[in-house]
């Protein structure tokens, strides 16, 4: 279980770079990494903004609770990261997400999914999707800048 997000539009720059052959692939990886970094920074900030609630939560409670426990938040902070580049038949990909378990032994990916979508007794935060939506433009710009920088080095 985890949080999955597909961002459209970022592939445009990657496709341009891939046309440059082997050199293009390396350039694509560098550009993608820049964009992923911008998005990851926004998500990190979004994790910090998730409301914190008591460590004790009663699923049978008829009231609604907001946010995650301090232990869960620490787990998300510690377990957040960017994977290495993955080359597939569709191009170069990178994944941003959560790994490992928190101090309570719960999967950070599972906690992230619950915080994102909520539970019947916990308000959703949509911290991940909102961070992705709000940083997509900046990530595209970062990729474009890196793209231009790389092109200038190859074709001064």
């Amino acid at each position: 279980m985890g949080v999955k997000m597909t961002v459209k539009g970022l592939e445009e720059y990657i496709q341009k770079l891939e046309k440059l052959g082997d050199k293009g692939k390396e350039m694509a990886r560098r550009s993608l990494y820049e964009g992923a970094g911008v998005m990851a920074d926004k998500i990190k900030s979004s994790i910090n903004n998730i409301p914190t609630r008591s460590e004790e939560s009663d699923p049978k409670s008829t009231g609604m609770q907001s946010g995650i426990t301090p232990t869960q938040k620490q787990g998300l902070t510690d377990g957040f990261g960017i994977t290495k580049m993955i080359t597939t038949s569709t191009g170069v990909n990178v994944r941003i997400g959560f790994a490992g378990k928190n101090a309570d032994g719960k999967s950070n990916a599972s906690v992230a999914a619950a915080a994102e979508s909520g539970r019947s007794w916990v308000q959703p935060t949509h911290f991940f999707s909102q961070a992705v939506n709000s940083s997509t433009g900046a990530a595209q710009s970062a990729m474009q800048q890196e793209f231009d920088k790389q092109i200038r080095q190859v074709m001064p």
Partner: protein
Amino acid sequence: MTLQERLKWFGVGAASICPRAYHYTRAKNSTVPYIVWAEDSEAESFHADSRKAEQRISGSLSYFTKKEYDPVCDDIQTFLDGSTAYWYLSAVNYEPETGLIHYEWRWDIHGCKNDGQGA
């Protein structure tokens, strides 16, 4: 439609699928099945001539049920198709603590404008 008119239209549609359809948060002691929907941010909108030509709004719609293969899920997807929203099923979770199945859709609706010229 204005922003609020568009949201109200969406809420009426959600209520037509499931009588217990809540905006933002469920009612205390609400019984299953029920829907909770909420707008949460502006999506990528369209700007022209230095002004916002069309506003897109992002949000979520959650459906909580105890019924396996609940046909209401199909009704929700039919509604979303008819709402001209861009949407996807973002998560399906089983809550072992409550026995509920939680479906969540993310959506972007367009056609929100303030000058009455929207869709």
